[in-house]
Symmetry: C2
Subunit: 238 residues, 2 copies
């Protein structure tokens, strides 16, 4: 691979760009304080909410329900957790606002500086399962300098389905080999590589908090393995 062959970088977002666990826990604490909810471990609540993420997409992937954006899936998962924890009496607007915690996630410290450098040379696209509104609101709050919001909603397919990657390349008018998937998750990179994408693994060993056991190391022959987005920019000559 020569770096000049690459025209666009497609980024996984949850975990790779933003620290969803700490951010959702922070939002949970604020929500709890606002509504008098006590006795909840908000890090665990964030983990449990995220644990419902893959199952909620499976029914869409398998065609058991029509295309449904992630905001709706997150909202359904939240309803189940609120009921489990006996958190009652919220208005729809209050629950919807808590659901938009996923629009208010903080980036890892290297992200904005790294993306700013990478943008000089490459098209920067989101390639996330998050929906467009979520990605736009997150980017504005966190100053993420995307050129374009792509991924699941535009391709109408959830990763790791091939169409999520192929539809993203097609929208950019590029061949898959001109695109590089950037992710902290080996599974995402395996699926991207199978469609012809180039691959960059960026470890995020604190994504799941202390004691993380998954995705600490690359498990494939990725084109780039980087310690963070600044290292990625260095390796790509930006």
């Amino acid at each position: 691979m020569h770096r000049d062959d690459i025209k666009a970088l497609g980024f996984d977002v949850f975990g790779t760009v933003v620290d969803w666990r700490s951010s959702v826990a922070r939002e949970g604490r604020e929500f709890g304080a606002r509504h008098g909810v006590t006795g909840v471990d908000w890090e665990r609540f964030a983990d449990d909410w995220r644990a419902l993420y893959q199952p909620s997409m499976t029914r869409v992937r398998e065609g058991e329900r029509p295309w449904t954006v992630l905001d709706v899936l997150h909202r359904e998962s939240l309803a189940a957790l609120l009921e489990r924890d006996g958190i009652n009496g919220l208005s729809e607007a209050e629950a919807d606002d808590f659901n938009r915690a996923w629009h208010r996630l903080d980036p890892w410290p290297d992200v904005v500086a790294g993306l700013t450098r990478l943008k000089q040379r490459y098209i920067l696209a989101t390639l996330s399962n998050g929906n467009i509104a979520l990605m736009v609101n997150m980017a504005r709050r966190a100053s993420l300098p995307w050129d374009v919001i792509l991924g699941a909603e535009v391709a109408r397919a959830y990763k790791p389905q091939p169409e999520a990657y192929l539809g993203t390349a097609r929208a950019l008018g590029l061949a898959p080999a001109q695109c590089m998937m950037v992710a902290a998750h080996n599974g995402d990179l395996h699926a991207a590589a199978a469609t012809g994408f180039r691959t960059a693994f960026v470890a995020r060993p604190a994504e799941h908090g202390p004691g993380q056991t998954t995705d600490l190391e690359p498990t494939g022959d990725w084109d780039i393995v980087a310690s963070d987005f600044l290292d990625l920019a260095n390796q790509l000559g930006c």
Copy 2:
């Protein structure tokens, strides 16, 4: 209308944001010099290329052909014009490069400064019939600070079909009344208003060159009538 009710601005691009006529003519002169093409009035060539724009979309709008992005429609129109003018012997790559003249259009002088101010308060979305790759390449070249590329390709509908506007609002998670269409074309604003969008008319009296006779004045009761994007920013309190 109160300006705080508006969350996003959706921009028409060809004519409203960029000066397609002068830019395509400039690209034509460069193309002519490169390939030894003489005796062509490139302003007229730009006008003729643009004149094929609406007819080319009509067949898609009416379902006579499946969804087709504007790059492909532009390329077909270009082939017809090259044949008409007896410009032969180009490789596919050379013709494709000339076709991407539409990716290299220059903004009107007020645009970048105006958008930069408007972005402080509003989500900035393209709401154009141009395809995603065209919009991304144009934005990177011209430093257009979009938050998100929306419009025809994401909505899978060409303006003035209602779905082009409605699909854009839906992608942003907003009601049409929370979105304002910004355009130099009264017809675009009439169609947007019919779906519930707010409207801003920005006159571009040089879009069609000297002697322009259309869209010199607002023909509807638009929420805002502005002389350029700086005036639009003033009127929206940015």
